[in-house]
C-alpha cells in the first residue's frame, strides 16, 4: 500500500536563523583575533629563521676553523655546488633532466602503488573470505626487506626507468594497502545499515559509505607513501642507472665530494616538501567536512 508522506502538511516551519550579518562587537572581536594571529605567526617565523641561521653559522665557522671540510663540507661549499649545478650543469648533464627523471620514477611508482594499494586494501577489507585467504601471504610479503628488491628489478627491467618505478611501487603499495584495509574494516556498521535501509545496493554502499570512510585513513598513508616513492626511486638509481638524482649522489660519493651529497639531499628534500604541500592541499579539499582540529583555528 503506497503511503503519501507529502500530504496533510500544515507547511508551517520553525524559522531557521542562518548566519546573520555580523554586529559591531563581533567585527571588533574578529579584527583583534586576526591581529593576535598575525603577531603569533611573525614570532614563530622569526624564531625559525634564527634557529637556521645559528645552525648554518656554527657549521660554517666550525668547518672553517676546526673540523676538516673535506669530510664534512660546509654550507658555503654546498651552496656554490648547488649554484654550479643549476647554472653550469652536473657531471651527468643538466640538473633539470636528473630531477625530471627521478620525479617521473617517483610519481609513476606512487600513482601505481597507491591505486593498487587502495583497490586491494578495500577489496580485502570488505571480504572476510579473501582476507582470510590472503592474510599469510601478505604478512610474508610485508616481512621481506623490500628495498633489496631494487637489485632484482635492475636485473629484470634493466637500467631504464621501469626498474625504479617497480621499486617505488612495492614500497608505496604496502604503506597504502594496510591503511586502506584498516579503513575499510573500521566502517561504522550503523552507517552501512542506514544506507541499506535507504535503498543502497552493495556497490552503492561501497562507493558512498566504505570509500569515503576509508578516505581519511588512505590520505594519512599517502603522506609517508610519497616519501617512500622517492626513496624507492633514489635507491633504485643507486643500484644501477644512467640518469637521476640518485646517480648524481652516487657519483659524488665516488669522488669524495661531500658537498655534492649534501646538495643532492637538499634537492630531494625540496621535492619531497613540495609533494607534501600538494598532498596537504588535496587532503584539505577532500576532508573539508571534518571538524577542524582543536586549536587549529584562531579562537575568538
Amino acid at each position: 500500500m503506497p503511503s503519501v508522506w507529502n500530504s496533510g502538511l500544515s507547511g508551517e516551519l520553525s524559522p531557521a536563523t542562518a548566519k546573520a550579518a555580523l554586529g559591531k562587537p563581533d567585527r571588533q572581536a574578529l579584527t583583534s583575533a586576526a591581529t593576535a594571529h598575525r603577531r603569533r605567526r611573525i614570532r614563530v617565523w622569526a624564531i625559525r629563521v634564527a634557529l637556521v641561521v645559528a645552525w648554518l653559522g656554527s657549521w660554517e665557522a666550525a668547518a672553517t676553523y676546526w673540523i676538516d671540510p673535506f669530510y664534512y663540507s660546509k654550507p658555503s661549499a654546498v651552496w656554490s655546488k648547488l649554484v654550479d649545478w643549476f647554472t653550469v650543469g652536473t657531471s651527468q648533464g643538466s640538473i633539470w633532466e636528473q630531477i625530471s627523471v627521478t620525479m617521473q620514477e617517483a610519481v609513476g611508482g606512487f600513482v601505481l602503488g597507491a591505486v593498487a594499494g587502495v583497490v586491494l586494501g578495500i577489496l580485502l577489507g570488505r571480504s572476510r573470505l579473501l582476507s582470510d585467504i590472503c592474510a599469510p601471504f601478505i604478512k610474508a610479503a610485508n616481512a621481506i626487506p623490500r628495498i633489496v628488491l631494487a637489485s632484482l628489478f635492475v636485473i629484470w627491467f634493466g637500467l631504464e626507468m621501469s626498474s625504479k618505478i617497480a621499486t617505488a611501487f612495492v614500497l608505496v603499495f604496502f604503506a597504502v594497502f594496510f591503511n586502506a584495509f584498516q579503513g575499510a574494516r573500521e566502517v561504522d556498521r550503523n552507517l552501512v545499515n542506514n544506507a541499506r535501509i535507504l535503498g543502497a545496493s552493495q556497490a552503492q554502499v561501497l562507493w558512498t559509505i566504505v570509500v569515503p570512510s576509508a578516505t581519511s585513513w588512505i590520505l594519512a598513508s599517502l603522506h609517508s607513501a610519497f616519501g617512500f616513492a622517492l626513496i624507492g626511486a633514489v635507491v633504485g638509481e643507486f643500484t644501477g642507472a644512467d640518469k637521476g638524482l640518485g646517480l648524481l649522489i652516487n657519483h659524488a660519493q665516488g669522488t669524495f665530494d661531500a658537498a655534492g651529497i649534501y646538495a643532492g639531499m637538499i634537492v630531494i628534500t625540496v621535492i619531497a616538501l613540495l609533494a607534501e604541500w600538494l598532498l596537504t592541499a588535496l587532503e584539505g579539499r577532500l576532508l573539508k567536512w571534518r571538524p577542524p582540529a582543536a586549536g587549529a583555528e584562531a579562537q575568538i
Binding site: 503511503s3 507529502n6 578516505t215 567536512w289
Partner: protein, 268 residues
C-alpha cells in the same frame, strides 16, 4: 487482518554472547501493526526493543518464528521500510542537503531530482538555511531532524523509530513530537516507535506495547483512546491521559524492577 502491514509470529532472536554462551534477546514475540496505526513500544533498558525493530527491518533474521511485512516473510530489507536508528547515522562527509538526498539517489533518481526532493524535506523538518552545513556543525537536535528528513524523504509505508528523541532536551522533544504527528497524519504509514519515556509513548501512539524484562516478550498491549489531532503538551495534563498513564505504568513498573534486580544480581 487484511491490513496488518507488520506481523510477528513467535519470533525469537538469539545472539552469541561474548562469553561464548547464547543470549536470547527477544523470545516468542507475537504482535501485529496495522496500516495507519501508531504503535509505541516501551520496556526496561536492554530488554530487546532495538532487536525487535531490526527483525522487522530485515537487518537481522529471526532465529525462530516468522516475521511478515505486507503479508510476505521478510528476506532482506522489505520495500517501504524507513528506520531511524538509536544512534544517528547521518553521513559526516555530506552536507545536510546531500544527506537527505541520499535515499532518492540510491533509488535511482537524478541528482537534481533528488536534491529538489531533499530541499522540501529539509524545509519541512525546519532546517531551511542549513542545507550546506556539515553534521559536525549542527546541534544534536538538528542532527535528529536531518535523520528524520533522510528517512521520510523515501515516503515509507512502515516507519521504525528507535528512541529518536531521547537525546533531546524537554522543549525540543515536545516540538519534535508535535512535528512528527503533523508529518505523519494522513500518510497512512504504520509507525513503530520505541521509547523509554511512557509519557511520550502515550502522547503519540494509538496503542502502547509493554515488553517484559530480558528476554523480551510482549506483556500487554494498551489502546490509547485519545482523539487526534493531538497537542502533545496540553494532552499531558488531561485526566484521561493520567488515567491511561497509571494503568500502563502499573504494568511497566514490575518489569523495570525485575530488570533492575536482574542487573544487580548479574553485576554482583
Amino acid at each position: 487482518m487484511a491490513d496488518d502491514v507488520i506481523e510477528l509470529r513467535g519470533a525469537t532472536k538469539r545472539f552469541r554472547s561474548t562469553s561464548g554462551g547464547i543470549h536470547t534477546a527477544v523470545h516468542d514475540l507475537t504482535m501485529t501493526v496495522a496500516a495507519n496505526e501508531f504503535v509505541a513500544v516501551v520496556g526496561p533498558t536492554g530488554c530487546g526493543k532495538s532487536t525487535t525493530l531490526s527483525l522487522v527491518s530485515g537487518l537481522e533474521p529471526p532465529s525462530e518464528g516468522e516475521v511478515l511485512v505486507a503479508g510476505s516473510p521478510v528476506r532482506g530489507i522489505p520495500d517501504g521500510v524507513g528506520y531511524m536508528f538509536q544512534n544517528d547515522a547521518v553521513l559526516p562527509w555530506r552536507s545536510v542537503l546531500d544527506n537527505v538526498a541520499a535515499g532518492p539517489r540510491y533509488r535511482g533518481e537524478s541528482r537534481a531530482a533528488a536534491r529538489a526532493k531533499a530541499r522540501t524535506w529539509v524545509e519541512r523538518v525546519g532546517l531551511a538555511g542549513f542545507e550546506g552545513y556539515y553534521p559536525h556543525q549542527l546541534s544534536g537536535g538538528m542532527r535528529k531532524r536531518v535523520a528524520l528528513a533522510q528517512t521520510l524523504v523515501n515516503e515509507p509505508s512502515i516507519l521504525l523509530m528507535d528512541e529518536p528523541f531521547s537525546a533531546l532536551d524537554v522543549q525540543t522533544r515536545a516540538l519534535m513530537q508535535d512535528e512528527l504527528l503533523r508529518l505523519w497524519s494522513g500518510t497512512g504509514a504504520a509507525v513503530v516507535f520505541v521509547t523509554h519515556d511512557l509519557e511520550e509513548a502515550i502522547a503519540l501512539a494509538d496503542r502502547v506495547i509493554v515488553m517484559t524484562a530480558s528476554p523480551a516478550t510482549i506483556k500487554g498491549s494498551f489502546p490509547v483512546p485519545l482523539s487526534r489531532p493531538r497537542d502533545v503538551e496540553e494532552l499531558r495534563l488531561s485526566t484521561e491521559f493520567l488515567e491511561i498513564y497509571r494503568e500502563i505504568w502499573e504494568s511497566l513498573r514490575e518489569e523495570v524492577e525485575k530488570a533492575r534486580k536482574g542487573n544487580a544480581s548479574r553485576a554482583a
